[in-house]
Assembly symmetry: C2
């Protein structure tokens, strides 16, 4: 293990030297890849589902039919992977598409009985994976983690629309 996120490089005012092993975007990427890989392998080997197919099932599992557009919003996925996932699920008979009469460009997508069955099997498994990952953390810490992730996402979105990062970000002068 060559990870060292605790040793301060020169903890003082402002950040100091760059060490990849303690660099947040890098750490986030590595951890996310490991977790995603773990989950992806589980879904793939047991149900033949990709992460994207699984996400679509997860939102449809709540019950209400939804257009592809709705799925995009609920999953933060682009419309292309959503389209591909829905088609694959349709071909496997896990979802059903019904063209809307009011707007014939759009279709309502919903789980079939078989899709529902898979959802009911895979959802608890997903929860178990999450529980195992969070094992040892108090509820408060879990919430703290989620809040931190939310904050990071918000900052990233703000920075994406703003352009370059500020040298003195908190000073609003």
């Amino acid at each position: 293990m060559t990870r060292d996120t605790t040793t301060p490089a020169k903890t003082g005012a402002g950040s100091s030297a760059l060490r990849l092993s303690a660099y947040l975007p890098y750490r986030l990427s590595v951890v996310s890849n490991k977790v995603s890989g773990l989950i992806a392998r589980a879904y793939q080997s047991r149900f033949g589902l990709t992460i994207w197919e699984w996400r679509v099932i997860a939102v449809l599992g709540e019950g209400a039919p939804m257009t592809a557009q709705g799925v995009c919003e609920a999953t933060a996925m682009d419309k292309v992977p959503v389209s591909r996932a829905i088609r694959a699920l349709d071909e496997r008979g896990l979802v059903r598409r019904t063209r809307r009469s009011s707007d014939r460009r759009a279709s309502d997508v919903e789980l079939t009985g078989e899709g529902q069955r898979i959802y009911e099997e895979v959802a608890p498994l997903a929860m178990q994976y999450e529980a195992s990952l969070l094992d040892g953390l108090a509820d408060a810490e879990r919430e703290r983690l989620m809040a931190l992730l939310d904050a990071l996402e918000d900052r990233a979105e703000a920075m994406a629309s703003a352009g370059d990062p500020e040298t003195s970000p908190s000073r609003s002068g």
Copy 2:
């Protein structure tokens, strides 16, 4: 914004229904992708560097020459992307490879003067991005976040080698 990570679905003993918007692996993936995308665009547009090339530069920037194998370990990257990144950097004249006399399969890789110059320009920028992302968080929270990421990585690795998640993970029976 269709994100809801705070509303408890049924906070009690054990986890309850699955909501994608509060599902840790999903959140981790979304946040990581947004952060990575932000950084990737910055490096690509300013320096024409991919994330992988940038990571290689980051570890070589510490000064000591390193084999590709060493870079793999330091960056948690697979040897194939490392090989590709080093070749691209070599072609751009940002790194230099010298075949080892002791083991002629391996080469020591180090930054050229030009590579060093880019490192010195891009490293502070990287730190600024991180600082902006963490803006508003106290030092203690930053450390807490890093520690949580470490813990998640450890659990994910443990689970990957162990196989399926346990139903009652903390009971060691």
